[in-house]
Point group: C2
Chain length 207, copies 2
């Protein structure tokens, strides 16, 4: 096999390159700031190929948003289904490694009027956050049943606060051009949550 | 005085109309989505007048962001310097009336690459959130000194969590096209914070 042939085999196909380039551009520039031209350039694809695979920018953005949401869901699930108590699992989600200053590629979409006003484009964003909140709710409710967390804790409201602290932490960090406010917000919430944990059930180094 | 003359007297002057129109457009469409043309149309002002008052879009956006940040600061200060305990004042800030689905006009700016990459445009956004976090920190620390809040509470980290819950609450609400996740996140945080309040010092209807 020639080395050019090998390169072609390793290179993702056209459709895949279009989706990945759109994922990156949406994260960096948002929907309104991403032109079809920029996508074609980054994907190194001609206009004809794009319209062969997708009806247009909106169709391609939908595929990209779905793919990004899928990835976020897998990462969150790994943390939330990990070892330890409910507190430990929520802490693992809050403290997982993030490129904080880049912000959340899915949360970012909610600031794009063209995305939130379009029911089809908004759907994967909505589904991702609904899933996240209901999954954290489950983890917290399970912790209550196991006696790890105070019975008075409201699992659904606490789960919404957990998801909001991450999304708002990104906003504060990007405003400051510094990850410190993100870390502080996470620590603030975890300290409040730790006070709801039954003594002896929380991993010491998280307190 | 003719009625036309009266109308002109009541109408804000050109510079003011430009700033207000830019404030609205930045909130609705963000920086990258706001064209000078759209500003001129909304302000009902000619291109010459705009360049008479401002060097360009970036200069005008700076004036608009500063104005919006000033307004937010005043509103937050009213809540945080209001009556009641530290918990009551933070609750007043979290529960103040907001047009949740429109999102935060200042938080929104952090999603615009052209704003966060420009030190001048980012500055008023950064200053607003720094001020907010330090003001909430003061209120919480004062509550601790007065014996209203547990000594173990970290005022600065908790303040970051409070600011983050509001900003992230907007993200979750816009994703859902429903204010419920915003309200849930605020309630979740307040319930956790109420658990840090010394019994008898927290207003009953907030618990």
């Amino acid at each position: 096999m020639s080395s050019t042939q090998e390169q072609q085999d390793r290179r993702p196909d056209t459709r895949e390159r279009l989706v990945r380039s759109t994922q990156e551009l949406l994260w960096e520039r948002g929907y309104v700031g991403t032109s079809p031209k920029a996508i074609l350039e980054r994907a190194e694809v001609g206009q004809g190929s794009m319209y062969h695979h997708f009806a247009g920018k909106s169709d391609l953005a939908l595929a990209a948003i779905r793919r990004t949401a899928e990835g976020m869901r897998e990462t969150a699930e790994q943390c939330l289904s990990g070892p330890g108590t409910a507190y430990d699992r929520v802490a693992a989600y809050l403290q997982r490694e993030r490129r904080v200053l880049r912000g959340c590629p899915i949360g970012r979409m909610t600031q794009d009027r063209d995305v939130v006003k379009d029911p089809e484009l908004r759907r994967p964003v909505d589904e991702m956050f609904r899933w996240l909140q209901s999954r954290i709710t489950e983890v917290l409710a399970e912790g209550q049943r196991r006696g790890e967390l105070a019975a008075g804790l409201d699992p659904a409201a606490t789960a919404a606060a957990v998801a909001a602290v991450v999304q708002g932490g990104y906003v504060l960090a990007r405003a400051a051009d510094d990850t410190a406010p993100f870390d502080a917000a996470v620590q603030g919430l975890l300290t409040l949550l730790a006070a709801q944990a039954t003594p002896g059930t929380t991993t010491a180094n998280d307190r």
